[in-house]
């Protein structure tokens, strides 16, 4: 029957699509990891920030492929895509406002709490850290 033939035909397509998306996800993850490794060696804050930006974009791309293909959203009716994607736009303001105010907390602390400001630059002596770890370990065990 035409119907079953149709399904099989699509099944083939579907499998191909799955493999393609798997490949894309793998590549994206590998690129992310590569960036992560690269970032370890970089000290300059500006460059680090840029790499972080790229990683976030890659993250969004991965999310797009998972939602679009694995979760099949890309093949749903446009209206449904809209009802799911549009409310997610709320996250833009959600994230923006929260992080902005978070940053403002830091500024207030650094401006008016001179002790905190001092502590934010005061390095902990490495020795102490090494000493502390086994102690904590013992306490844990």
């Amino acid at each position: 029957m035409e119907h079953t033939a149709h399904i099989e035909h699509h099944a083939e397509d579907g499998k191909k699509e799955v493999m393609r998306v798997t490949l894309i996800l793998t590549v994206l993850t590998l690129v992310e990891l590569a960036l992560g490794f690269w970032m370890m060696k970089i000290e300059a804050q500006g460059t680090r920030l840029m790499i972080k930006g790229v990683i976030v974009i890659l993250m969004m791309a991965k999310a797009f492929y998972i939602v679009g293909y694995f979760m099949h959203l890309k093949h749903e009716i446009r209206n449904m895509i809209m009802t799911i994607v549009v409310p997610l736009l709320l996250f833009v303001w959600f994230i923006g406002a929260f992080l902005y105010d978070g940053n403002s907390f830091k500024n207030l602390r650094m401006t008016y709490d001179s002790h905190k400001k001092e502590m934010s630059t005061k390095k902990v002596e490495k020795k102490e850290e090494v000493k502390e770890t086994p102690e904590v370990k013992k306490a844990v065990e």
Partner: protein, 227 residues
């Protein structure tokens, strides 16, 4: 997109008597549930971000997550173990897609095989997480305890570990319930429940949930391990 099964352009999707999205209500509810769950995770991650923005220094993830099983005390392999975890989850997502596809083709055997693979993937991920947690615990990290210092050498607050354990724990809880759901699905498939119903829609819904878990990991992975 198939044209023969999609209704012709003239169809009034919204005029009642049928689903405007051409999906049955269960799938619709699953989607909207996942959206609301996205807000739960979103709120956690945003709270984490806010705290990071409000804090002067933060530990370097590469210093923290640098070990892997059987590596001994002085392993220094950042990102390695977590990338394994990531791939496990991606692969289990793929097998889940295949299970869903097999369900659409009413291919019970393939459904069973792929579900089993997915469950194994889920369990493997959970085991990895269990190992990582115990490892960190033995290093002295736990809720309210943070042995790691900031990347710039300053004293760090406990919020690094607080958020790490809470959010990965919440994600792990989702993976765990996903595994349970998949096991239920497997049993139902083996009992021919879906054959009797004539469709494997339940598997699709379980699949949506499973992919969502994978999706969340994409964000958690980036937020905690990479940046």
């Amino acid at each position: 997109m198939s044209t023969s099964t999609t209704a012709p352009v003239t169809t009034k999707w919204w005029s009642g008597g049928k689903s405007p999205f051409n999906v049955e209500y269960g799938k619709l509810m699953m989607w909207y549930f996942l959206m609301s769950d996205a807000f739960t995770f979103g709120a956690f991650l945003i709270a984490y971000g806010t705290t990071r923005f409000a804090t002067a220094g933060w530990p370097n993830p590469n210093e923290v997550f640098k070990s892997y099983p059987f590596a001994g005390e002085n392993a220094n392999a950042p990102l390695v173990f977590v990338s394994i975890m990531t791939f496990i989850l991606i692969i289990s997502s793929v097998t889940m897609v295949l299970a869903v596809k097999a369900g659409q083709e009413m291919n019970k055997k393939a459904v069973v095989n792929n579900l089993i693979l997915t469950i194994i993937g889920g369990l493997a991920f959970l085991s990895c997480q269990a190992w990582e947690w115990t490892h960190l615990f033995h290093e002295g990290a736990w809720w309210g305890r943070n042995p790691f210092i900031n990347a710039d050498g300053t004293q760090s607050t406990t919020n690094f570990t607080n958020f790490f354990f809470t959010i990965t724990g919440f994600h792990g809880f989702h993976v765990f319930s996903g595994v349970i759901i998949n096991i239920v699905m497997l049993i139902m498939t083996l009992m021919d429940k879906f054959e009797q119903r004539g469709h494997y829609l339940m598997i699709e819904k379980a699949g949506l949930y499973w992919h969502f878990v994978d999706l969340v990991w994409v964000f958690v992975f980036t937020c905690f391990y990479l940046i």
